[in-house]
Symmetry: C2
Subunit: 356 residues, 2 copies
DNA sequence: TTGTCAATTGACAGCGTTGTCATTTTTACT
DNA sequence: AGTAAAAATGACAACGCTGTCAATTGACAA
């Protein structure tokens, strides 16, 4: 395979180009070059041009290590997650990365298991050894008080991605992105109700995840709003996994013949429920409607395609990163309005239908 | 949620602890502390103990930026990929990360689109600004000559993950991990043949991917070995995507009624073929057998479950990282034998069956 | 005990930037 | 033109660590 683009005049003289080289070529001091590189004010246009020309000619790239050692910024932020969902994680990474690229930052990723006792130490070590200038936290880590306490005590800038509608009573007001699982779940449930379903089962995710609680709450709110009495026995405690969906659907169908719809707490569970339905020879959506949540790529690939709630994790991540950088900026607040609350949208596909 | 583990005596005095502090407390020079931290020889056990004690007491963590600036190592390696498959990428990251953790390195991830003209520049910039000490390349980037040329000219240590059986004629002998797609494809095809199939269609991935060619070659080899004449019209040029599988299966079944099996170049394609079969009301595996490749998580979640070839991307990635670190070690070669060739293994599930 | 050589340790410069603060240049007025 | 204030620029130390090389210590043989 051959490189298709323009052959760029790559500077491969193999010698490190330092700020000093640029300064000499441009006929200014190192400090001035530094100013230009950092977009600091108080540099004459003419000077700046000279410097930029020299930078281009030498193909100069500031050394991040030196920059972070000498300065106060570190040019790296971290992403800590314990979420096993590959699609979710990739979207998060890409969303944050897109913003990092603009800011010239690097992203250090740090997967960890939330059950591991050492998470706190790991996070602290990560922050201290790399002198991270910020951190993005995803659920369920973002919901852990001890993690937040640690970050506060470390005096580090962070943004949490949270399930909820509003900055809660907690202080965490300006450094969180909210995903309104409640209202999305409400919509899904309402959709089911509008199709005539009255006996709607619910398969939950891990109860440690706030999203589980929020979605469940939205479901309950919709039922109540439409005067459908809540039947606690229709709520099956599960995990955010395919297997959980399989089990859940089996259990539900086995013990309750009245159920005509299942609200799965995410797409994986829904896919599992779909699978179980096949096993039990239950026709979807003719005999049973199933809904997912998240709109993962595979929700379009199941048979039938899943009705679900679409949330763009990449957008959420980008906003989180934006917020992080905005907060770390020296008081230049509110440079642009930022969405801090996302409500996933109902996407009706083929796994839900009118009650028979 | 509350932190379950032992409450560690966290040193949150908020003051940076430097190597100098440790040196003073231990009553040695900074250089000696440095030696201990880097496991250099020529440090008396007694001295080392003193230092370690001080390190622990102060909860000292070496500053990566300073380390990389002063020393020759950078404590960061990079992972460059243009692969859209979330599962693949996550596995790669985790595999590499597990090794990085042991070595105390950080991982910088760098997704990029292989069609982008700027990949070369991006890679170069990434390497130079972070002074990366190594790079792991995944297909298809790892197969691009121009990328390799660039890395060589940059004089950077790298490991490629390649599709193939052996270090090819090319120089790249000691810095590549091979995935033997050919033999795995051979096995899959043989499996199909053993079930009585003689008209086996093949849906390819992007032809720029060497894996596509290797898998196709394995398929052809198996056919030939079993005296089944190759029918080029049964080869459907596709992409590594679900949609491609849908289209491919439709096209194949539309124009050739003799086909009883489809070899899909990966699981996504297979899932798409499965989906299309449902659309066309074709029973799997009774009327048609379908095989995947890679054993993605969802290959156990399709209906029916996919027969595929299992490859542990995480292991592959770990080996790649191992090789990378081994190569960068100053001539301490062959510290442990390393697997450099992986052959995915046939996993028979429910999407293949005897010919009717 | 003393000398010799290897093992251990330390002093110090320097990695490539930026922060601080002093100096020079420009601008805006009288 | 002359002056004060503002703007632009530069000199230099410092960031926290490791490489180099010199100094010290210990081990061992004579």
């Amino acid at each position: 395979m051959r490189y298709a683009g323009t052959i760029s005049k790559r500077n491969n003289n193999n010698m490190k180009v330092t700020i000093n080289d640029v300064a000499r070529l441009a006929g200014v001091s190192m400090k001035t070059v530094s100013r230009v590189m950092n977009n600091e004010p108080s540099v004459r246009k003419k000077t700046s041009d000279k410097v930029m020309a020299a930078v281009k000619e030498l193909n100069y790239k500031p050394n991040l290590a030196a920059r972070s050692l000498a300065g106060t910024k570190s040019f790296a932020i971290g992403l800590v997650y314990s979420n096993p969902n590959a699609y979710y994680v990739i979207d998060m990474q890409n969303g944050i990365l897109s913003r990092c690229k603009e800011e010239g930052y690097e992203l250090l990723i740090h997967p960890c298991s939330s059950t591991d006792e050492n998470v706190l130490d790991e996070i602290q070590t990560m922050i201290e050894r790399s002198r991270l200038s910020g951190l993005v936290l995803t659920p369920p880590l973002s919901e852990r008080e001890d993690v937040i306490e640690l970050l506060d005590s470390l005096n580090i800038n962070y943004v949490r991605i949270l399930s909820g509608r509003e900055p809660t009573e907690q202080e965490g007001k300006s450094n969180a992105i909210f995903v309104n699982d409640h209202d999305a779940a409400y919509q899904i449930t309402e959709h089911l109700i509008s199709l005539g379903h009255k006996h709607i089962a619910f398969i939950t995710g891990e109860e440690e995840h706030k999203s589980t609680l929020e979605r469940l709450a939205g479901y309950k709110a919709a039922l109540s709003e439409h005067n459908i009495s809540l039947d606690e026995s229709l709520i099956f405690p599960g995990k955010y996994s395919f297997e959980s969906g399989v089990e859940g659907a089996k259990a539900i169908m086995a013990k309750n013949s009245k159920v005509t719809a299942i609200f799965a707490c995410n797409d994986e569970i829904a896919a599992g429920a779909l699978f179980a339905s096949r096993l039990m020879d239950i026709k979807i959506p003719e005999q049973l409607s199933i809904t997912g949540f998240e709109d993962s790529p595979f929700s379009k690939q199941t048979w039938p395609k899943l009705t679900t709630a679409h949330q763009s994790n990449q957008d959420i991540a980008t906003q989180a990163a934006k917020l992080l950088f905005a907060n770390s900026r020296p008081t230049k607040i509110k440079e642009e309005k930022m969405a801090v609350c996302f409500t996933p949208e109902l996407v009706v596909r083929d796994s839900t239908g009118h009650i028979a």
